[in-house]
Symmetry: C2
Subunit: 447 residues, 2 copies
């Protein structure tokens, strides 16, 4: 039997593929079996008797936000690695703490991540972590959508490579299609070329893409050029990763000579920009978003993991992209409010290879709908609702969230997670998580 | 009769003058006639029978945040000047719109500003605007604390100068001491030297300070050097403004040669850093916070007006200062979470000349207390509460706000403003506010 949901009398944010967003007022959105079936003036649509109803009066429906790069389970380490250099962040704090994580911990951290994201209107995320099967469980349980990449380092050996690929293949398409998967080599500086070649072959054979950190900052690119005479993006091309289709995390070290390479693969390449962590780690320059967009490459807004970003808040990521890109380009007129919203919706969707399924509210797309309340003192008067979304709204202005046609947050309350019980379980694990007296680490950082 | 208030069983954020902040758990705070009388382990304090009680269980008490520079009434223009250059922002959007403002509008905009700030835990703000008496009314009514500077341009003439000074003198000390005042010359590029000299004399005679925009960006400094052979900070020194005591807004164009001048007046000089607007206007460099702090100058966190900043959210300003200063200095280990909190509390208090009255929770200080809930999914687990305040918390995590010993926000609800009625009044004025068909402006921008 068809499941029908109607969101009534809301305003709708229309995000075109380019150009200004606009708002249509007093609209209904009819959803059938998880897909937007009809959208138009309130009361003028097809008969919706018996449909589950969400009253959208006074609220703005926006496409569910896409978090284009994160490590969900790292919520467990939120705030545990502050005011340190990139090297110390990896070698002294995060990679030693990760030794402590059990598969069960990863499930708990992932569930908290899903909860935080759903409550803030993020309906899809691209994840890169160990024990992705535990993350998939959390995705299925909580009702969010995700593309999961099982993290692989060459230091783990070839069997682990094959296993990570098998995990991805097994996860892809589960959860009624809400879970997709990518292969997850960590980075060109932790995965050797032979392993990248093998993973690219496996990805192509399985019809999957590759999610990888690359050219995270300029020093990595310079180091790669000095050691190997090739940029990290060049390595991705040479090993077949770009050919398979890649979601590249960060890319602050993408240099002009990389752009033709990326442009040649524009139909299957995305870059996730996560500015909060770049600023926090004192990086300069930032992701060259303007050049990437000019080259036709998809760019999405990401949070990276909460051990660096502290939140998984795409509102924050989106706002910081607008602010930092204006400054980086010394041009206050670019990265407009509409272009910024585009990155966090359609841009992220394209970057994840989901550009035809999510990212905008239109018939035929998955019903990933976020109802936002712009009525707070910090948003009013609303001269420009798009500006309000980018520069005034907070994650806490999210009222109701629908993913794949299912209401998962209603009036600010998450329906799918027992949050107090989850947090209590996590708190009990905190002392063990923070203990780095073992002196070990999952990997050494020396890009 | 003594009014007594007790906040029971909260955690308390201790913000020392330098070094790491710390959290004391299970504390009571006893307030008598607006002043913190006692603070210590719950249940061990003086008898508090009959005191008004606020249950702080599970909440963190932090000093009320200080917004070191804003233009409150510009909430009316929130989001009405996006994606434009600094020149167009002033000349095409904001200064033409300001022609439309009536004194009554300014009162409405100020009341909305006070409401927004109180709801987000800002208990004190430094304001710079026209019709400051209307803003004072809003401050008194809403229960917030403010230092108000009546804006003056030399284009308004000498009578307006004297009137602006008289307004400041009349306002200073009103509202039971919650209103203080400063003189408000707009900037060295809109107020001539003779007028700055006169205002500095008036300030010294009245025992008031001066709140002024200066060296807003490097191009202003370069322009001043080219036209006059002196930096804007040099102008402030030569005209006696620094001698009177100055709160300098922005200072992104403060150059190394200015530092000895500022250091010589360190006991009475503050600089307000408002990074969101600098990024939005594509400015580079930013306020040289490290050099200023090294010179002993007080630095506070500001939002500027909502026509540029879109919110009056000091949490956002504080976070952006940490992020942008780390990047600007290419040093991830400086502007620590504790140093950042300091700027938004004690730093702002000092910058406003209120360093002995507000900015920390200790006996003898005014009882400006904000209770924050770090229990949300976006803050947990809380490995480091100071990091949580800087990098995870949102304005919406503020639960209860006390100013001068009076509860003005309780459980997220503002007790002193009828917000729906206020917003309805403002909405009715929106078409008139946005109409710039008159072709006039309050001033022309050409620094």
């Amino acid at each position: 039997m068809t499941h029908r949901l109607i969101v009534t009398s809301c305003s709708v944010l229309v995000v075109p593929e380019q150009g200004p967003c606009r708002v249509e007022t007093d609209q209904d959105i009819l959803v059938e079996d998880g897909v937007i079936a009809w959208l138009g003036p309130a009361g003028s649509g097809p008969e919706a008797a018996g449909a589950e109803t969400v009253d959208g009066t006074g609220l703005l429906a926006v496409p569910g936000l896409v978090n284009a790069h994160t490590h969900g389970p790292m919520t467990l380490m939120r705030g545990a690695a502050e005011d340190v250099s990139v090297e110390d962040w990896f070698n002294e704090r995060v990679w030693p703490m990760e030794v402590n994580l059990t598969p069960a911990d990863i499930g708990l951290g992932a569930e908290l991540a899903c909860a935080e994201m759903l409550l803030s209107g993020v309906t899809t995320f691209a994840d890169h972590y160990f024990h992705a099967e535990r993350i998939a469980d959390a995705v299925v349980r909580t009702g969010i959508r995700a593309d999961l990449a099982p993290t692989f380092f060459s230091s783990r050996g070839r069997a682990a490579l094959e296993e990570s690929a098998e995990t991805a293949v097994a996860l892809h398409g589960t959860g009624g299609g809400r879970v997709t998967a990518s292969l997850g080599p960590h980075a060109p500086y932790t995965v050797d070329d032979a392993d990248l070649v093998r993973l690219a072959e496996l990805a192509k054979a399985a019809g999957l893409r590759i999610h990888i950190h690359a050219a995270e900052h300029l020093e990595q690119t310079e180091s790669s050029l000095a050691r190997r005479g090739i940029t990290p993006i060049g390595v991705l091309e040479r090993t077949g990763v770009l050919d398979a289709g890649a979601l590249i995390a960060h890319g602050c070290g993408i240099v002009p000579e990389d752009l033709p390479t990326l442009a040649a693969h524009r139909d299957r390449t995305g870059v996730a920009c996560c500015p909060k962590v770049y600023l926090k780690h004192a990086l300069h320059p930032l992701t060259p978003v303007r050049s990437l967009l000019d080259a036709g490459v998809a760019v999405g807004a990401g949070t990276d993991g909460a051990a660096g970003h502290n939140t998984l808040d795409v509102w924050e990521a989106m706002r910081l992209i607008a602010l930092t890109q204006k400054q980086a380009e010394r041009d206050a007129t670019w990265m407009t409010v509409s272009d910024t919203v585009l990155l966090a919706t359609r841009g992220g969707a394209r970057a994840l290879g989901l550009g035809d399924r999510i990212g905008s509210l239109e018939p035929g797309r998955a019903a990933d709908i976020v109802l936002v309340d712009l009525g707070g003192a910090h948003c009013r008067p609303v001269h420009d609702p798009v500006a309000a979304l980018v520069y005034s709204a907070r994650a806490s202005d999210v009222r109701t969230v629908v993913v794949d046609g299912r209401v998962v947050v209603r009036d600010g309350r998450l329906l799918t997670v027992d949050l107090p019980a989850l947090l209590a379980e996590i708190e009990a694990r905190v002392p063990a998580l923070l203990d780095t007296s073992h002196g070990r680490a999952v990997q050494h950082y020396d890009p």
